[in-house]
Symmetry: C2
Subunit: 245 residues, 2 copies
């Protein structure tokens, strides 16, 4: 809140006046969907977050929706470039506060969102069922990555040094929220736990498990619970940021 004096002119008389203006902090929120999904799955949550006073941005990664012809050939490295381009569009929006950027990534999108924090300023990071991929798969077509090897990899408890995304999380100094699904048959618990353990320098880290939820949140109540968790967490972060502006 800022206060500034101003004169009110009435004929030849100048009266003393004071403007009291609210803080204009408008956070920007980037949504990164998962592999095989699209921005449509993020719109409902994005609407809720937008009502908190944020400017939200969703987009379709290469290999999805209109560019699904690239589904078999697109690599994590290329999708990372997509995320960077979307981030840069959001961060240069004239109304977005560059010191209040949130990224919300699900599964593969959580993996890319984590790596994004090592390449661009991110204040708030929300990872839903974040997936892990071997560093050696970075330039391979995502669709061709061996699923069996990947499942075995996700059964390991990894150290930050073991993985590109975890290394980024270890350096992240903002606030992090991880939301895990209790009955996740795609990303095993050790992978999510490896993410949790990696946030060693974070300003805050919260890890929530959605009871009875599957990887894709097909149950509407689980999806609502997820939206509720994210909305409440974002409200708290925004309130804190506004108070300390």
């Amino acid at each position: 809140m800022s206060e500034s004096p101003v004169d009110v002119l009435v004929g030849k008389t100048a009266l003393s006046g004071t403007w009291l203006e609210p803080n204009r902090l408008i956070p920007g929120v980037l949504f990164v969907h998962g592999w095989g999904s699209n921005q449509g799955n993020n719109l409902q949550l994005a609407r809720s977050i937008s009502r908190l006073g944020c400017i939200c941005f969703t987009f379709d990664m290469r290999g999805h929706a209109a560019t699904s012809q690239l589904h078999e050939s697109v690599t994590p490295e290329e999708n990372m470039a997509d995320v960077l381009a979307a981030y840069d569009l959001l961060a240069t929006h004239e109304s977005v506060d560059k010191d209040a950027i949130a990224v919300i990534g699900s599964s593969y999108g959580g993996y890319l969102a984590s790596i994004l924090t090592s390449k661009r300023p991110v204040d708030w990071l929300i990872l839903r069922v974040p997936a892990l991929y071997r560093d050696s798969d970075w330039k391979k077509p995502k669709a061709k990555i061996n699923r069996e090897a990947l499942n075995a990899y996700r059964d390991l408890y990894l150290e930050p040094d073991d993985n590109r995304a975890l290394r980024a999380c270890a350096k992240f100094e903002g606030d992090a929220l991880i939301v895990e699904s209790q009955n996740d048959s795609v990303v095993a618990h050790p992978a999510v736990a490896s993410y949790s353990g990696a946030f060693r320098r974070a300003h805050s880290m919260s890890h929530r498990v959605l009871d009875g939820a599957d990887h894709g949140l097909t149950d509407v109540h689980c999806r609502e619970a997820y939206h509720h968790i994210v909305s409440r967490w974002m409200s708290e972060m925004i309130s804190f940021a506004r108070e300390h502006q």
Copy 2:
């Protein structure tokens, strides 16, 4: 909340993106102080209301603070011109939503604020212990108005047609909040009741009595109770306006 599609360019590929932007409704709130007071008495409440996301404006009326040399000569008509000038400054602020203007007036300021609604668009009108003056005193120096006659006038239950301010209230179609002090020795209950009864076309009208309060809210708890009532009422009005934008 608005949604608009946009392309994200990554090299030669265009990805589909969506902006989700919050409503930008920023109400403007004008504070009109009472006779013998000044804008300083409104700053605390203005700060609270500003934190609700409003742009607030306080000012010193002619005859007060820096222009106190005019105290003996200034007329209600001249102070009305001050209020109009302050309103016009607020309403032309580039960020203020012209369809969301509130005016908060105390005592003499409530009298002028009521009349303002007949001269400028006002959506929300808050009158704290609004005073009444005879129409015939309009062009007389305010400080010279016979106090005994005034007290007798304020003991009457008046119809809207009887008074300039009440006529304005009778035509007001926005939301009104009246806050009365239980132990008011300056503005008698019939005067405040005449205001309440005048809002015949209002979208809503609330009348609250502050238990144990005097005219000037010298008791800090009464002042806090008043601030609480106004903040809550304004929050409700703003939420409703944002939802229906």
